[in-house]
């Protein structure tokens, strides 16, 4: 099986007044053809930077000192602007977090969906037919009528379906979902996840699903990458990582999932401390400042300890396979 998307040792720095902010450090993520890979981490772990880097839409003050991003065998960090525009929307596309702001408020749904197909040949009626088909596919009632509707006339769940329809319209090989359910309520969340699963099967695209919600990741993804402060700390098959987490951060993250609580508590569990200063990260393990198990050895770069086949954790204290 070939890889639809491969991120190899990617670092992204932002130039700030305090110096280079190391938003991503040596992150490697592989999304095989037709699979769903989750990225989980708290706010500020570099999820948005990762998406922008994948699309090559980083802000002007960002630099990529190292690493490669290969989309279907092509290095996007070396692609020129013209080629990038071709890739975006056709080979890789995104569903954004907030459906309320991800659609142009003054253009009708149909017009926006027609715009996405501007590279396609075909008459307006033909494009509208394709748009309506895709709207029907994502479960929007009266798809033809909805083409004339404006975003504000649709509910949040409907808008997210429209945004997914737009992202899937050109049948991309890789679909990035940037917390697509965070702004929705729980019942809609389940529906959108089911929809993404179905679409994935139908279009056969690979999905990179980014979320801070462990339950959603467990539900949807084949593999998961746990990120902390711009570093991938653990990666493996979803069931394996959640059942037998190797990295102390993953363990804490799972312990803090409010979904695990059996009874009412005054304070939700939290990981004490805060994110390290990314302009001057500590040497060695990035999590040492908040880790219970931290010892002197943690000041040296942690090895990637294989926990099980295909499952590693970057921690000196993680028990290797078989122990």
């Amino acid at each position: 099986m070939s890889d639809a998307l491969k991120v190899a040792d990617l670092s992204v720095h932002y130039a700030t007044r305090e110096g280079a902010l190391q938003a991503l450090r040596d992150v490697s993520i592989t999304v095989p053809e037709g699979q769903i890979v989750g990225v989980v981490g708290e706010s500020g772990c570099g999820k948005s930077t990762l998406i922008n880097a994948l699309l090559q839409l980083l802000p002007e003050n960002a630099t990529i000192p190292a690493g490669r991003i290969t989309l279907q065998g092509e290095d996007v960090t070396r692609a020129n602007a013209r080629r990038l525009r071709q890739m975006r929307g056709q080979e890789i596309s995104v569903v954004f977090q907030d459906p309320m702001t991800a659609l142009n408020p003054v253009l009708s749904i149909g017009r926006q969906m027609r715009d996405i197909q501007y590279r396609q040949p075909g008459r307006r009626a033909e494009k509208d037919r394709r748009s309506a088909e895709m709207l029907a596919r994502v479960g929007i009632p009266d798809p033809v009528g909805k083409l004339a509707a404006y975003p504000h006339e649709l509910s949040g769940g409907m808008r997210q379906r429209v945004a997914i329809a737009m992202a899937a319209l050109m049948r991309p090989r890789v679909l990035i979902a940037d917390e697509p359910t965070t702004a929705l309520d729980a019942t809609l969340e389940v529906q959108i996840i089911e929809l993404l699963k179905d679409l994935q099967k139908e279009i056969g695209c690979a999905i990179l699903f980014i979320s801070h919600h462990l339950g959603v990741i467990a539900e949807l993804c084949d593999r998961v990458v746990v990120m902390y402060a711009g570093v991938a700390v653990e990666e493996g098959p979803v069931a394996d990582v959640f059942l037998r987490p190797g990295h102390p951060y993953t363990i804490k993250l799972i312990e803090c999932d409010p979904g695990r609580l059996k009874e009412k508590v005054a304070d939700l569990p939290a990981i004490p401390g805060s994110l390290p200063d990314l302009t001057d990260p500590p040497p060695g393990c990035i999590f040492q400042g908040r880790c219970d198990r931290a010892t002197e050895i943690c000041a040296t770069p942690p090895p990637r300890r294989v926990q099980h086949p295909g499952h590693w954790a970057a921690c000196h204290h993680a028990k290797p396979e078989g122990t």
Binding site: R88, F96, N104, P105
Partner: protein, 282 residues
């Protein structure tokens, strides 16, 4: 029928305020266009025997100090007012639109430079600038238009810049870029339609302002050349002879008030209708 009711015009007609505004504007436009046909007298013809004639069947709004028919002069004045307003608003709007989008999209130094330029122009009082320019340029409508353009394009520029900036960083523009939209496509298909709503509202609101600036300049004697029947000039004539003949002043002010009200109401109604988020129902 229902398609019409949902169109912009249909929705405007359903709004009593907008209907009122459009009736006034339509009346003004028709009177200005057909001024030569409607006018009972030659607006320039002097008739010294009938100086300061009160309103009558012959002179509907009386005559002025030279015996010229006020009503005929007001019709001609409507032409001048509308011509100046539309030309000046179009020119300053276009300049503002281009500069505003440049500022919004351009590098920071260009944005700062343009903002400084806008602020410097806006800080200058219109009438003082008009006086200064009138001293340098010949009296005439083009001077009036130039004064209005210089003093008002900065306002469009600022509004367009602010809109562009906030739109540029909005999530749907990021989404469009993520979908592979080119720069031109983003500017013309996504930013421009979002900017045009506030832009047209500002333009409609600015029309009456321009009409009053023209009238004000003519009233001060730095606008139209002497003898031209602009509303401001008529007002000035009426003001000079207010003791003898109040009707000249009253009839000179009436179209000014009507035009201002009409365009202001229309601008407000447009604002309510053009912003799809403010629309009540479809």
């Amino acid at each position: 029928m229902s398609a019409f009711r949902h169109s912009l015009l249909g929705r405007l007609l359903a709004d009593p305020m907008a209907l009122f505004a459009m009736v006034i504007i339509a009346a003004l436009v028709i009177m200005a266009l057909l001024a030569d046909v409607i006018a009972p007298h030659d607006p320039g013809a002097m008739n010294l025997a009938d100086r300061f004639a009160p309103p009558s069947a012959t002179y509907w709004m009386g005559t002025d100090n030279l015996g010229r028919d006020t009503f005929s002069r007001l019709l001609q004045g409507g032409r001048i007012a509308l011509y100046v307003a539309l030309t000046a608003v179009t020119i300053s709007g276009l300049i503002g639109l281009v500069l505003g989008m440049l500022a919004g999209f351009g590098p920071r130094w260009l944005d700062n430079a343009l903002l400084f330029f806008f602020d410097a122009l806006r800080a200058y009082p219109t009438i003082i600038l008009a006086l200064a320019l009138a001293a340098l340029m010949p009296r005439g409508l083009s001077t009036v238009i130039i004064v209005v353009v210089i003093t008002s394009f900065a306002e469009y520029g600022r509004v367009v810049r602010t809109q562009t900036l906030s739109l540029k960083n909005s999530e749907f523009i990021l989404a469009e870029r993520a979908m592979g939209a080119s720069f031109g496509r983003i500017v013309f298909h996504h930013i421009l339609p979002n900017v045009l709503g506030p832009f047209f509202i500002l333009a409609a609101m600015n029309l009456p302002v321009v009409i009053t600036i023209e009238a004000g300049m003519s009233f001060l004697g730095i606008g139209v050349p002497p003898g031209t029947p602009s509303w401001g000039a008529t007002l000035k004539d009426g003001f000079d002879y207010i003791r003898n003949t109040p009707w000249i002043l009253l009839s000179g002010g009436l179209p000014l008030i009507l035009a201002t009200l009409g365009f202001t109401f229309l601008g407000e109604a447009l604002r309510d209708q053009l912003d799809p988020r403010l629309r009540k129902t479809r």
